[in-house]
Amino acid sequence: MSTATTNAPQKRSFTAAASVYVNERTSLAGFVKELGRKAFPDHWSFLLGEVALFSFVVVLISGTFLTFFFQASMVEVHYDGSYVPLKGVEMSVAMASTLDISFDIRGGLFVRQMHHWAALLFVAAIGLHMLRIFFTGAFRKPREFNWLIGFVLFVLAMAEGFTGYSLPDDLLSGNGLAIINGMVKGLPLIGTWTSFLLFGGEFPGTAIVGRLYTLHILLLPALVVALIAIHLVFVVVHKHTQYAGPGKTQQNAVGPPILPIYAAKAGGFFFIIFGVLALIASLFTINPIWNYGPYDPSPVSAGTQPDWYIGFADGALRLIPPGWEFVWLDRTWSFNILVPLIAIGIFLVLVAAYPFIEAWIKGDKREHHIADRPRNAPTRTAIGAAGVTFYAGLWAAASSDILATHFSLTMEGVIHALQFVVIVGPFIAYFVTKRVCLALQKKDREIVLHGYESGRIVKLPGGEFIEVHQPLDEYDRWRLVSFESYAPLMIRPNARGRITPAQHVRAALSRWFFEDRIAPVSRGELEASHHDEHH
């Protein structure tokens, strides 16, 4: 073992010698020391980003395999592979090569299914990760830019997914592109020109698969990888957030160090995710293109949907009532397409800009490294619930036909119910969530001040009955009292003695945010309550 000992006085193990050899040429030691000692707080919800990262790695590995065999060409051929119900059918080379991957290349179908399942998991994990960040307020200073990067990654992941969905050139993917073509053409003035630019002529043309392939395997993955790298660097630079607890402050991060415990766990976790995806891919069919057949602009199958992450956009189109398209000034104005596009655009901009909006309303310039419990930020949590309801309504609308058949409902009934969910639902969700949060905060206060109900009834010497309450221990209490309660901002004149309209808006928003609030139990209140109980 101990062979390489150039300038070392005593015998060294091979690992040590190799480390020295590498370090003398790269100076990596400082980096490893710094990174290896980073603490990573332990909570299951902190691993959701890792789920996204690891499923992306699975997507990359399986996707690389697929590029060996996929041919992104729309040249027409007659299928001559081993799937009988498509024998002799005219189709593009893209479709034929995808069928070959599925039926004639060893392990091809498994890898194709793994790629697709991993892609669905990738976007789902990003979604759940974003919800975790939102509801715990982990986007607050200094992490606003990282929220923005994560948001861009979410959009890029959807773009990656959609371009991939479109590559096999089967009926389903062609129908998806037909909708995109329709949406592009629905844009006033530039629509038709843009569509011709995109498809290289009249839809569907013979160029789109090749173009999407370049985006799918070159441009988009490069952007995703680069942004993931920046995202992770920021996580290291900012430290990870942690939940409130004894010994956890705004200045530290408490948890196992990256090396060796955390790294070992994360490495194992990667293989678990790889394994789960392999299991799913080997047991469950995904995107059976052999059923869909080659793309042909005339047929559309019942149950034609995009993959789940594009569902909200498809749903938005489905919810628009008839008759929103009219001719004016000799042009067709497609408000049935413009309105959902604008609504989705506004929604996405609000999601991206939320950290900046909240920071401005609060006027809070401090750094925050302790994650909020959702109940302790009632207005934010309620806004989040409203957003989730809006998104979920659109998302469900994409499966309106499946909902109708599987629950024996009428299609019209489903559509009207979901229109209600999308328009009125967010308001209901907002008020209900806000009240629930405030009620939970009141309950927390009650528990801190009086402890848990023990169910033990005691008769006092005077004949009075009381229930003995079990007081909290200090660790539990810490969790319940360490949060901040903001008061609404006061309007103050600026340096020139004026109150600007922006100040008025800000004060109004601040009142909306913090008018109803429950303050954490203070030391004085706590002592007073203990004092009460002793007498």
Binding site: D42, W44, S45, F46, L47, L48, V51, V84, P85, L86, K87, G88, V89, S102, Q113, W117, L120, L121, A124, A125, L171, L172, G255, F269, I273, V276, L277, I280, S282, L283, F284, T285, I286, P288, W290, N291, Y292, G293, D296, P299, V300, S301, A302, G303, Q305, P306, D307, W308, G311, A398, S399, D401, I402, A404, T405, S408, L409, T410, M411, G413
Partner: protein, 263 residues
């Protein structure tokens, strides 16, 4: 040494077995001949007796809505000229007699024996010319699956889904799943257009093309998906639900497990 003498003829040790085999062959053959005979009698669409039996069944079970001589009432259409195929489909799949008025007739357990269904069918056929029950060679799935698949995608998939998993129509109507429908019934549905389905006559889709479509559907029925469980063959909605509930659900359970120790 009587015992060592080889026994031959009817005393041969295998004689009983041979006799038994002979008996079985004769009985089986006679039964087969007999049952073929009845089958032929049953399929005799012109037999007055079949039509008479059908008429009785019709008047007892169908006349309330369709009228005593199938002329139709406010509750049910006239059946003059719908042909044997329509009756064989509607009654043979359990849609008729209808349980209740609704967006469309629901499938339920078949109410009559095969023989009674045929009797009803030939009674209705005797009222006016209409499509007949198709011949076996058109419905046994012996055609070209690739041609059938293409025709199915162009003509049928928009309602029935590319894999025949069914789909929604307006106002609570729906196109049923074709995953366990017999070839004869598929053919009859195409020529008669039951419920909300359009008629695909022989000018539109030739009998050979119909045979190909049935061949494709039989292929889908008989061959499981090469990729594993189909999740209902209803496309990305099922896939999305699966990955959120089972995929992400399992992984979140694992994250809880991984981080559980430190508490």
């Amino acid at each position: 040494m009587n015992r060592q003498k080889r026994r031959t003829g009817r005393r041969h040790p295998l004689a009983t077995v041979a006799l038994l085999a002979l008996g079985l062959v004769f009985t089986g053959g006679a039964y087969a001949a007999f049952s073929t005979g009845t089958a032929q009698a049953e399929a005799d669409s012109t037999s007055q007796q079949t039509i008479e039996e059908g008429k009785k069944l019709f008047q007892a079970n169908c006349a309330t809505c369709h009228g005593l001589s199938a002329e139709g009432t406010d509750d049910g259409p006239s059946l003059v000229g719908v042909g044997a195929a329509a009756v064989d489909f509607q009654v043979g799949t359990g849609r008729m007699p209808m349980q209740m008025q609704g967006p469309q007739a629901q499938q339920k357990p078949v109410q009559f024996t095969d023989e009674q269904v045929k009797q009803l069918a030939y009674y209705v056929a005797s009222l006016g010319p209409g499509p007949d029950i198709p011949a076996d060679h058109l419905t046994n799935g012996g055609g070209d699956a690739a041609n059938g698949a293409e025709l199915f995608r162009i003509n049928c998939a928009m309602c029935h889904n590319v894999a025949g998993a069914g789909g929604a129509l307006t106002e609570g109507k729906f196109a049923p799943a074709l995953t366990d429908v017999s070839g004869v019934h598929i053919y009859e549905a195409m020529v008669t257009g039951p419920q909300n389905m359009p008629v695909f006559n022989d000018m539109n889709i030739t009998p050979e093309d119909k045979r190909d479509i049935i061949t494709y559907l039989k292929y889908v029925q008989d061959n499981r998906s090469p990729g594993g469980f189909e999740l209902g063959s209803i496309g990305p909605v099922a896939e999305g639900l699966f990955i959120w509930i089972f995929g992400l659900g399992a992984i979140v359970a694992i994250t809880v497990w991984i981080t559980a120790k430190s508490n």
